[in-house]
């Protein structure tokens, strides 16, 4: 199978473009996604190919963007809505959480809302507290939504194609520090099923469950410790956080007997708590020989100063220190 190396941003662009070529009901809207190419350049070239009818620059109106996507989806379209920073979803949260997510259930199963809300999340760009959050747990707490966050270009492309084909509202959270990272994707078309995690690295001593940009960071630490012959860490990326592939986590923890969750989001109320509970509620509990450890962002807004910002969320040093402690 022939492969190419592309960036995470390009993978997302290709997923949208391929799907829009396949299905005329798909359209794409958001702020500055046309000629500008999106705040992070993800949609460069799309307006040239698909025109301004299907690649729609919107007013700065997040509630109308998300709500119009819901209304368009309920009436037969398949919209992709880009919210420029995931932090701004809060302006349209009613339309996402009270409308799009609940429509099917409220209407007794007689509606479907096939839409994707794409938005970049995470810190590391010096944009401070209102442009840097990781709020995936908010969306996971709303039944009716699916929540996906890829950690590689390969996953980004395959998962986004599945998200676009899914008949439910999907919140697709993109890691802004990964946009320029490159990875291999096949030349041939492929998709990756939602709600299915992946073992990113096999190991025997500890299971680390992580997602988004923390995955490459955890893998780097795992490789370092393996080289030092300290331990072999298994790294699980659920990829879809809601609905969660619980089995892949449980099976891994049963094998290794130790579990750690690493996420960028603030620790308290973070999705790591949910995953810890999944492990503790399962037969994996009886295989644990150490407490479940969570490593997350500190409970502070993301600060501006680069060193403060870097240390507000897990760093390789902090992850390594926690692993060493847990394995003692």
């Amino acid at each position: 199978m022939s492969q190419r190396e592309i960036t995470y941003a390009k993978a997302i662009n290709e997923a949208m473009s391929e799907e829009m070529r396949r299905d005329k009901e798909i359209f794409f809207m958001g702020e500055d996604i046309g000629i500008y190419g999106g705040a992070f350049g993800v949609s460069v070239g799309m307006i040239e190919e698909f025109g301004e009818t299907r690649v729609r620059d919107t007013p700065i109106s997040e509630a109308a963007i998300i709500g119009a996507a819901a209304g368009a989806a309920a009436t037969g379209s398949r919209p992709i809505a880009e919210i420029q920073f995931s932090d701004f979803i809060s302006i349209g949260i009613d339309q996402l959480g009270n409308q799009a997510a609940k429509m099917r259930y409220m209407f007794g199963g007689r509606a479907q809302v096939p839409m994707v809300v794409r938005a970049p999340i995470g810190s590391g760009t010096g944009a401070a507290a209102q442009h840097s959050q990781s709020q995936e747990a908010w969306y996971c707490h709303i039944p009716g939504l699916k929540v996906v966050t890829p950690s590689t270009p390969y996953d980004a492309k395959g998962l986004l194609k599945s998200a676009i084909r899914d008949n439910n509202p999907v919140v697709f959270l993109e890691q802004k520090l990964l946009y320029r990272k490159k990875g291999l994707v096949p030349d041939e078309e492929y998709t990756i099923p939602l709600c299915k995690g992946e073992i990113k690295r096999e190991g025997t001593d500890l299971s680390i469950i992580s997602w988004g940009r923390m995955v490459p960071m955890v893998l780097e630490v795992a490789e370092k410790l393996a080289k030092e012959k300290k331990c072999e860490i298994e790294v699980i990326d659920p990829r879809t956080l809601m609905p969660l592939d619980k089995q892949i986590i449980i099976d891994s923890v049963k094998k290794t007997g130790k579990a750690m969750i690493v996420h960028e989001a603030v620790l308290t109320g973070g999705y790591g708590g949910e995953i810890a509970a999944v492990i503790a509620d399962s037969e994996a509990f009886f295989h644990l020989d150490a407490p479940i450890r969570r490593v997350g962002g500190f409970d502070v807004p993301i600060p501006y100063n680069p060193e403060l910002e870097r240390n507000a969320v897990p760093t390789p040093e902090r992850i390594e220190a926690n692993i060493r402690e847990l394995l003692q």
């Binding site: 919107t58 997040e62 209304g71 309920a74 009270n98 007794g108």
Partner: protein, 331 residues
Amino acid sequence: MEKNTGKNGKRKSNLSKEKLQDMYMKMLHTRAFEEKVAYFFSRGMVHGTTHLYVGEEATAVGAIANLRADDWITSTHRGHGHTIAKGLDLNRMMAELLGKETGYCKGKGGSMHISDITLGHLGANGIVGGGIPIATGAALTVKLRGEDKVVICFFGDGAINEGTFHESVNMASAWKLPVIYLCENNQYGMSTSQKKATNIDDLSVRAQAYGIPGKRIDGNDIFEVYETVREAKEYVKKNGPYLIVAETYRYLGHSKSDANRYRTKEEINEWKTKDPIPRMRIYLEENKIFTPEELDGMETKAKQDIENAVEYAKNSPDPDPADLLTDVYAD
């Protein structure tokens, strides 16, 4: 167009006898449905809450009389009138209020979530202003597909102060979407008078800010509503959105827990002299379209239809407990 206040006798109408009967019956059905629901709530026979449309019937019926089944509407928490006008089944509506398996939402939605996508009804809505972006999105589908359809977005004088109104009307106007934004000004957002909530008397002036037409009408005059929406429908198909503000009034409280402390009996009684149902009846009688006996017969039939709906609902099964967990996600 001649202005109509109170009596309706002089108004000309080109509507067929069948159409007039259908419109009159839908107003009667709404009134009888709501009065029955009010009775149920007063006796504690159904749970939750409900928001009744008594007094506002001409707005929903007059507007929706312009639509086909495949045109779209979004409704509100006070949605039974729009729903009956859109042609949804009275039995299944009543069954939903009683939380039954045969209800429109299989007992999962209740009063505030009745919908039927197959009849162009995108749902009542528990969030004030929540349906406005959804109507806008429906109009976007219509426009993208090049369909010959329109959307009517119903909302109230409370919702017109929500951000979703501003964001949606602006977007629809920029994109020239085929949607009529129809504000039912029933004078109160729960207990707060529209005159206290805004610094303008005529809400339709807001249309100017979006570069679209705006018109204030008598929402209790079914012919004025019908004709305004007919014009607006042709307009929006070619030019983009239109704002209509229909002045109307709810005789009953905001919801079942309302003690009516914020308004006077005199005010309520004053509005009752403008009740849309007797006004249409006077028109139908004076123009000899129907005899008084025929009209009495319609009123009897409307009440009987609601009694039948109650029987249907009462005899319907409760939802299967296992159904609690279904319908969260589509396949």
